[in-house]
């Protein structure tokens, strides 16, 4: 077994938290039951990884098989990477039959024809997600296994989730291969980025709870049971409080919000001041960047009005994030008579 492969396996095992190592090795399936039983999983990680490398030597594991362990690790801990969402477009009505083997063949073919030194791995999961791991090299060097790109694609949807590595120069080639393999015509980057892959999926697949008005009251809807407060305490602002709760629920829905870490607004609007003061002598747009960041941005926006920190209803620029499926906005000067300023598509 190559030294580089051994080193790669050792470093990958070191990344995994100690309690998870056994389950991930079992999922990997490259070491037999008897081999796994010879490892003492209570020793320090350094020693565990050495043992694993030793056993892999016996099984002559190659780099492609070692890369599968990396995919398994990233599937369990996807939130360690930043994911961007891309949308593909097709111009005509085509048959909706998705053939997995065809997809894989076309994808590998396209990449390999442009770049000989790549390591490509596929892994399918139960929820129709196809995980693709690509390690990039150059015409003269072997692929760099420590900076792979990950692509998650759900068949028959136009959305692709890409966690690019630092090597951004390979992105156009990757996009081209995806478009070709999935029978689409075009691909563009959406302004939607987050650490939480599942939340990104919830937003674009519309799996998050939106509040729709119906006559039929949903049986599982938990009506807000007011906590048994002291009957001697009378709330003066009860009407206002209830109004805020109702408006908030209409906008955000009842369930948990998708997890985003930031929203960024690039303002290119004119500075509005008293015409007599005339701060700027040149009539130029005032460039400004507003960035909201939070461990869980949408939940914190949802709790702004009930906590009394903002008026309800909250600005639609903030609440449209899941519906417009973007968290990077460019706001320019309003040119037409619309009540909101013009938000670029």
């Amino acid at each position: 077994m190559d030294e580089t492969v051994a080193e790669y396996i050792r470093r990958t095992v070191l990344k995994i938290p100690r309690d998870e190592i056994k389950t991930m090795l079992e999922k990997w399936g490259l070491l037999s039951e008897t081999q796994l039983q010879t490892i003492n999983f209570r020793q320090i990680k350094e020693s565990i990884s050495q043992d694993v490398v030793q056993l892999c030597e016996e099984n002559s594991v190659d780099i492609k098989q070692a890369a599968v362990l990396d995919i398994i690790y990233n599937h369990v801990y996807p939130n360690k990477r930043v994911w961007c969402v891309y949308q593909m477009k097709k111009t005509g009505e085509e048959a909706e039959f998705f053939d997995l083997t065809d997809f894989k063949k076309k994808f590998k073919g396209r990449l390999r024809s442009a770049l000989k030194n790549v390591t490509i791995n596929f892994r399918e999961y139960e929820d129709n997600a196809i995980w693709i791991r690509i390690a990039w090299g150059t015409p003269y060097t072997k692929p760099n296994q420590y900076k792979p790109s990950y692509v998650v694609y759900h068949s028959q949807t136009p959305y692709v989730f890409i966690s690019a590595s630092v090597l951004k120069s390979n992105l156009p080639l990757l996009c081209q291969a995806l478009v070709l393999a999935s029978n689409y015509h075009d691909i563009r980057e959406m302004e939607l980025r987050s650490h939480s892959l599942n939340s990104l999926k919830d937003i674009v697949f519309k799996r998050y709870s939106q509040n729709f008005q119906t006559h039929y009251p949903r049986p599982l809807q938990e009506r807000n049971v007011a906590p048994k407060s002291d009957l001697r305490i009378i709330q003066e602002n009860r009407n206002e409080k209830e109004r805020i709760e109702r408006v908030n629920r209409e906008v955000f829905g009842d369930g948990p919000q998708p997890k985003l870490e930031f929203a960024q607004y690039k303002l290119e609007t004119m500075f509005k001041s008293d015409p007599q003061m005339d701060v700027l002598d040149k009539k130029e747009p005032f460039r400004c960047l507003v960035k909201f960041s939070s461990p869980h941005l949408l939940e914190s926006l949802k709790s702004l009005a009930p906590a009394g920190m903002a008026d309800a209803p909250i600005s639609p620029l903030l609440t449209c994030i899941p519906q417009k499926a973007r968290n990077y906005f460019k706001i320019r000067e309003k040119k037409h008579f619309f009540p909101e300023s013009f938000v670029s598509p």
């Binding site: 009505e93 909706e96 998705f98 939106q210 119906t214 039929y216």
Partner: protein, 287 residues
């Protein structure tokens, strides 16, 4: 006490002084506590007084309300018309609530209309999907919870502007068929996993299923491979079925494969599998 004994004259008086001081402190404390208790009792009495007052006022308000209602109801003609109106409103509300059972129901909103499409497959209720439409300046989709692999934009392009009813019914067909296919595939994996070898390869729309399953004949098991293609997206039965067995299998198995292929085309997937297991039982049971 020892100190007192040592300096006899000063000690006793000092001791007495100390005891007096302690007694004074205790008296002061007791006085304070008594005062606080009195204050509490006074406040409690005040609270009781105020709540009695409030109850009296509330009772007065309630009485006035009743009188007003009685006055309104005292007119017999008015009361019966009002009763009829109330009955009508209750009826309509009940109808609107039940309308979701038809599969497509709607509610008027500030911006337009919100439609709810409920899916079901053979007497099992499945998920509901919502489409919120704006009506002016032109009919367009404002918000929806339809999954991305359902061709919503295509259906909207074809029917939304011309015939909203047709748009809803076509969308409902797509959603119901998808829900039905998904239900069959889920049931298969849940109840018949012992007959399936390996994993079931499916896709998001559940319109292409490929898997291997075991068939036992004369106490030997043979693997069958089946490929189910659901060409019509509005249908929950496959349009193309390929059942194949290994080339070295006996001829009777080829007949069985053909029979299975026909069965899959006509009957729901999980029901077909259920009939296999019951057929096997009857075959084994026969002498």
């Amino acid at each position: 006490m020892e100190e007192g004994k040592r300096n006899s004259a000063h000690g006793v008086f000092a001791h007495l002084e100390r005891l007096e001081a302690e007694a004074r402190e205790i008296a002061v404390k007791e006085e304070k506590m008594k005062q606080e208790e009195e204050k509490q009792a006074r406040l409690k009495a005040r609270v009781r007084e105020l709540s009695l007052q409030r109850d009296m006022l509330l009772a007065k308000v309630r009485l006035q309300k009743k009188l007003r209602e009685k006055r309104a109801m005292s007119d017999p003609a008015k009361s019966s018309a009002r009763a009829v109106l109330e009955w009508k409103i209750k009826n309509i509300k009940g109808m609107l609530q039940i309308s979701y059972l038809t599969g497509i129901s709607g509610k008027q909103t500030k911006q337009g209309v919100c439609f709810c499409i409920s899916t079901a497959y053979e007497s099992t209720y499945l998920d509901s999907y919502y489409v919120h439409l704006l009506v002016k300046p032109e009919v367009q989709i404002y918000q929806h919870s339809v999954p991305t692999f359902i061709p919503l934009e295509e259906i909207a392009k074809k029917y939304l502007q011309t015939d909203i009813g047709r748009f809803l019914s076509v969308l409902s067909d797509h959603l119901n068929a998808y829900a039905g296919r998904k239900y069959q595939a889920d049931q298969l994996q849940e109840h018949f996993s012992d007959q399936i070898e390996g994993t079931v390869q499916r896709n998001s729309l559940c319109n292409l299923l490929v898997f291997n399953y075991k068939v036992s004949s004369k106490s030997k098991t043979f693997p069958f491979n089946v490929r189910l293609l659901y060409g019509d997206l509005c249908c929950s039965l496959p349009t193309e079925v390929n059942v194949s067995c290994t080339p070295d299998a006996p001829a009777s198995l080829a007949e069985m494969a053909a029979a299975h292929s026909d069965l899959f085309r006509r009957v729901a997937l999980h029901k077909a599998f259920r009939s296999f297991s019951s057929a096997e039982e009857s075959v084994d049971g026969a002498p």
